[in-house]
């Protein structure tokens, strides 16, 4: 697994750049990750990212868009506005968890 330097810290990531160590994430790091992919974080973004992290911790896997919408209470249309085009991958990246494995 590669190690990359983000915000002056060494961070473990996979071949694409997604974080592989849940506990290496913090909110300051998330701000840098978001900036890397041109997302300006608002309170709505934070709500989604925090749900993704909590759900990953509880379920052991990254939630899909559908799960963020049904269990997290943030509707699908909103997710596409907040994280244009690829909400699931962008949320995962900023939240420091792997890409979702589920199909739906």
């Amino acid at each position: 697994m590669p190690v990359t330097t983000i915000n002056g810290r060494e961070i473990h990531v996979d071949d694409e750049g997604f974080l592989t160590e849940y506990d290496e994430w913090d909110e300051d790091l998330a701000k840098v990750l978001a900036a890397n992919i041109n997302v300006d974080l608002t309170d709505d973004h934070w709500a989604a990212i925090k749900f993704v992290r909590e759900d990953f911790k509880a379920q052991g896997e990254t939630p899909t868009i559908r799960r963020v919408s049904t269990a997290g209470g943030i509707d699908t249309k909103k997710l596409f506005q907040l994280f244009p085009k690829k909400p699931a991958k962008k949320m995962s990246y900023i939240a420091g968890v792997p890409k979702p494995h589920g199909c739906v």
Binding site: M1, P2, T5, E16, D75, K85, C103, V104
Partner: protein, 175 residues
């Protein structure tokens, strides 16, 4: 272990906007409704322009009076197994009374167990994700249906030429 000097950032291809995909949904059996829905949903999640065109039996997927009650039949399906013991349902028994409701319930339960929505709710999700639904003119005329009979998320009833024109350059899947 490798350490990269520059920050490794996933490539989300934000500028790549030319990929387009269209699904032709021609079946109205419950099991054959799902392939296009699952793949269309995945395509939308990848930021790809996605269209679904409903034609012939696929019209049931978007007809208000039928879309909530699609059925699955084990008739003619030799891959239909019972959930326990990997037992095939003999084709001679497949048309027996009660088999279709039982098989339909079984599939619905299996799909629900994965957290995958039923057809109408799945269409809601696809429309909310930016997917475009189109109804076939000939199928509407054959069934004497108008737009008011169809799911609200359907953009319009269009003819075959419109569909061919609209999917210029798109990848096509006939299901």
């Amino acid at each position: 272990m490798t350490t990269t000097e520059t920050t490794l950032v996933p490539n989300f291809d934000d500028d790549e906007t030319d990929r387009k995909i269209a699904f032709i949904c021609s079946k109205g059996n419950l099991d054959m409704a799902y392939p296009a829905l699952v793949l269309a949903n995945a395509a939308l999640g990848e930021g790809i322009e996605t269209h679904l065109f409903f034609t012939f039996w696929g019209f049931d997927m978007i007809t208000k009076s039928r879309m909530h009650d699609l059925k699955f039949s084990p008739v003619g399906n030799t891959a239909m197994h019972l959930p326990v013991g990997d037992v095939r349902i003999p084709q001679a028994l497949a048309p027996m009374p009660g088999m279709q409701p039982m098989a339909t319930k079984m599939i619905k339960d299996q799909i629900a167990a994965l957290g995958v929505p039923e057809v109408p709710e799945f269409l809601d999700q696809i429309v909310a994700s930016g997917g475009k639904l189109w109804a076939c003119r000939m199928s509407a005329d054959m069934n004497h249906l108008t737009e008011s009979d169809l799911y609200d998320g359907v953009e319009a009833i269009i003819n075959a030429s419109d569909f061919i024109e609209m999917t210029d350059g798109a990848q096509l899947l006939f299901i």
